[in-house]
């Protein structure tokens, strides 16, 4: 009897691994993500940071530097970003380790628009991103950066991006795992080759498509 209860628990765990995602989606679609959010594991952000604390940046002091192989190097304020055409997205945030938050509201400026704004020089191949935490870094190829759902976000979850979520301004790369969506974005450099970022140097794929592909381009997201 004792053994049966024990094995039953283990079996329940195994079933949860295989069917848990479906069960969770079912719960969220039937009783709504509001209540689903109360259920363990349902739609909850885990707050990651590489360094011990979060960089606190006052929105009025925020600056985004765009440099490298560009016609017009720029330093943008938050107001400058907000003055540009806004793009709104409602998309999932999928962490590479498994947790996921559906239907997150995002708002910001398309990276493609920013690139057009500064003018990319010939020979440019990729972008290198830096963070105010002085630790994280990320990369995208120019083609990836020009996808329509890759934005420099200043709103998330229907409000200005909070400090723990990487505010005032973070990257959101919808078709890729969360680690590509660098927090506390401080600088974008246009470069002539992909420079693997912090997580890539720690073994994560440089091209972190959510469908598992690690190729440069992924037709599924074009």
């Amino acid at each position: 009897m004792g053994r049966r209860v024990f094995l039953g628990m283990v079996a329940l765990g195994a079933a949860g691994i295989v069917f848990g995602t479906k069960a969770q989606n079912f719960i969220e679609s039937t009783i709504g993500s509001g209540l689903g959010g109360l259920i363990p594991g349902g739609g909850r952000f885990r707050i990651y940071s590489i360094t011990g604390s979060f960089p606190a940046i006052r929105p009025s002091k925020y600056r985004l530097e765009i440099s490298g192989l560009v016609e017009r190097p720029l330093t943008l304020t938050l107001a400058d970003l907000k003055a540009m055409p806004a793009t709104k997205l409602v998309k999932e945030f999928q962490c590479v380790t498994g947790w996921t938050v559906p239907d997150v509201h995002w708002e910001g400026v398309r990276l493609a628009d920013l690139l057009d704004h500064v003018g990319v020089k010939g020979g440019a191949k990729a972008l290198s991103f830096e963070s105010y935490d002085n630790a994280d870094s990320e990369s995208l190829t120019l083609d990836q950066a020009r996808l329509s759902d890759v934005i420099v976000a200043y709103k998330m979850l229907g409000a200005p991006v909070t400090t723990e979520h990487g505010g005032p301004v973070r990257l959101y790369v919808a078709p890729m795992f969360g680690y590509k969506s660098l927090k506390w974005l401080s600088a974008i450099r246009v470069v002539d080759e992909v420079i693997p970022g912090y997580w890539e140097q720690n073994g994560y794929p440089v091209n972190g498509w959510v469908d598992g592909s690690t190729a440069d381009t992924n037709p599924a997201y074009q």
């Binding site: 209860v5 995602t21 594991g41 909850r44 604390s53 498994g98 947790w99 598992g212």
Partner: protein, 224 residues
């Protein structure tokens, strides 16, 4: 070691705690296990709740502590169970595995009114706690490994493992809270997990069958 078992009749006068309920191996396993559970639960909170994460920060450090406490989790039980020193623990495991119809009935009413008297070394609730602890260690270790070494699994399975790890973690907090509540409200039981012994009067009242077993063993082997 002398035992009062053979000489003294039960249930008369004030008795010393003469009956060994948990030997040193079992107690060490319990407290090492409790320490690891404590570390895992304490680090789990800020890893899970973003409001706490903001206050505590240091996620990589917490994650590292959580990971290694998790990897170490099965060690105390396995080491105590598998060595020649683990005879008593193995015996208790057999007791926990064995359920009478009365014990199942007892559990239905949680030992309330009309519940049959249970007489084993552990009551059904304690047995269930032991089984749960064993099961949850396996499940948390497996899903935890999947979250750490995720690249070997599909995204769907990773999400499933996250879901299971979270749900079982909630259960752990509830069960551990209950376990501690029962312990502090039952000082005799708790003392036996600290000092090892209970009185024969206690055993007569809560675990008569076990007392009878111990007496029989003692009469066969006075050194016990």
């Amino acid at each position: 070691m002398t035992s009062g078992l053979a000489q003294r009749p039960p249930g008369r006068g004030v008795e010393p705690n003469s009956l060994l309920r948990f030997d040193l191996v079992q107690r060490s396993a319990h407290w090492a296990n409790a320490l690891l559970f404590g570390i895992l639960m304490a680090t789990a909170l800020p890893l899970y709740f973003s409001s706490l994460a903001v206050i505590v920060g240091r996620r990589p450090l917490l994650a590292e502590i959580h990971l290694w406490a998790g990897v170490a989790l099965p060690i105390p039980i396995l080491v105590s169970l598998l060595g020649p020193w683990g005879a008593r623990l193995r015996q208790d495991l057999r007791r926990i595995n064995h359920w009478t119809a009365d014990e199942v009935a007892w559990l239905r009413t949680l030992g309330g009114k009309g519940a049959p008297k249970v007489v084993d070394k552990f009551n059904p609730g304690q047995k269930l706690n032991g089984i749960f602890t064993g099961g949850v260690i396996v499940v948390m270790l497996a899903t935890g490994c999947m979250l750490k070494w995720f690249r070997f699994f599909s995204v769907e399975w990773r999400s499933g493992a996250t879901f299971v790890h979270d749900v079982f973690a909630f259960a752990v907090f509830i069960v551990v809270f209950g376990h501690i509540l029962f312990a502090v409200t039952h000082p005799d039981s708790m003392r036996s997990m600290v000092q090892g012994r209970v009185s024969e009067r206690w055993a007569q009242k809560h675990a008569a069958d076990w007392l009878a077993d111990e007496r029989e063993l003692a009469s066969r082997d006075p050194s016990r």
